[in-house]
Symmetry: C2
Subunit: 213 residues, 2 copies
């Protein structure tokens, strides 16, 4: 979350404002760490405060309520992921096959697929049925992501003139495949091998589009 200044173009932050936004940022990280270390249930005000090293009242000063802080963590995570995959997917100079490869690589990169962040994804997703407010943030692979993959698959099918191919089915498979890799990483992060995961994804891509991969 960016600091909302009066003037959108200029960032004339005084020492006071920079200090405040710095603490806000620090609280987001501390809350994320607390969720990772102690789980959703263990991420209490006391735990987050101890993690941050700041004072107890800080959370309510910056976020009013603890729930608002958690929502801000989810939003932060969502934005972080969104900027990464769109950066990889929207490089129109690359051919479709390379864009698909780039999306896969980003999804499995140490920048996106971290033990902490994936644990937090799971935490919010676990309560999405009981707390619908989380939905807007946890649905990282939203309609836009899926549609992008569909477009790429359709392009590849057209380029390769593959018979009996189906862009929607192929795209759904890819989305599920990537989700499943995240799950595997979350549950077996010690044995997880990013290279093998990528190989499996490319293996699927080659099966779908043998002339491209």
């Amino acid at each position: 979350m960016q600091v909302a200044n009066d003037e959108q173009s200029e960032k004339v932050q005084n020492a006071r404002e920079t200090g405040k936004s710095k603490n806000r940022r620090h609280l987001l990280d501390s809350a994320a760490n607390a969720i990772f270390k102690f789980g959703f249930r263990g991420a209490t005000i006391a735990a987050i405060q101890q993690e941050s090293g700041l004072s107890r009242g800080m959370i309510n000063l910056h976020f009013e309520t603890k729930e608002n802080l958690l929502l801000a963590v989810a939003e932060d995570l969502s934005q972080h992921y969104h900027t990464r995959w769109t950066r990889a997917a929207n490089d129109k100079s690359l051919p479709a096959a390379e864009r698909l490869r780039a999306i896969i690589q980003v999804d499995l990169s140490p920048e996106v697929l971290t033990a902490r962040d994936v644990a937090i994804w799971f935490a919010f997703r676990s309560e999405v049925t009981s707390n619908p407010e989380y939905r807007q943030f946890i649905d990282s692979r939203d309609a836009g992501f899926r549609e992008t993959i569909i477009d790429i698959c359709q392009t590849l099918i057209d380029e390769g003139a593959y018979e009996n191919a189906n862009a929607v089915l192929a795209a759904n498979s890819f989305v599920a495949l990537l989700e499943g890799m995240w799950t595997d990483f979350h549950l077996h992060s010690a044995e997880f091998d990013r290279q093998k995961a990528e190989s499996a994804c490319i293996y699927v891509a080659r099966s779908f589009f043998p002339d491209h991969f």
Copy 2:
């Protein structure tokens, strides 16, 4: 000589014993419902008690602690899933391709893939990093599952003499694919279509093993 048959062999349940185990079973379901309705954090003693209609002390009587009850819920869920997929996978009379199809179908069936159970899977998985005791139960697709899929894939590769095929990569893809379908179902249960999900899985299977699917 006297045969010691009185103990352990038969379960002559009293009305008292049946009543107790009935309440235990009821508490497991009530706890599961509470997790589904209110999330892991909202599944308090009070919530579970209200859900069950039983008295407050019941939980501690049957499970000592609330955490034990949660562990029992995880164990119950794990066993339920395990019996289902093994039943589908171990029918040796079926050819390998049909066994793979059966596993896919079970995984996506209304018996296994329910909104409540998947939400509970996510709940326990979300805290597996902070509470290692959960690991033994939440790893539904354990080594046995993966190895079974690998075996099936290897059999199919041998049967079809597919070139450039790799059983491990194919199996990892299938496991991730099924996990991803669960995630999709969890996040978009309203729009989720079991038939389309199965079609996507079969689409992958056909891409891997065109002579079999």
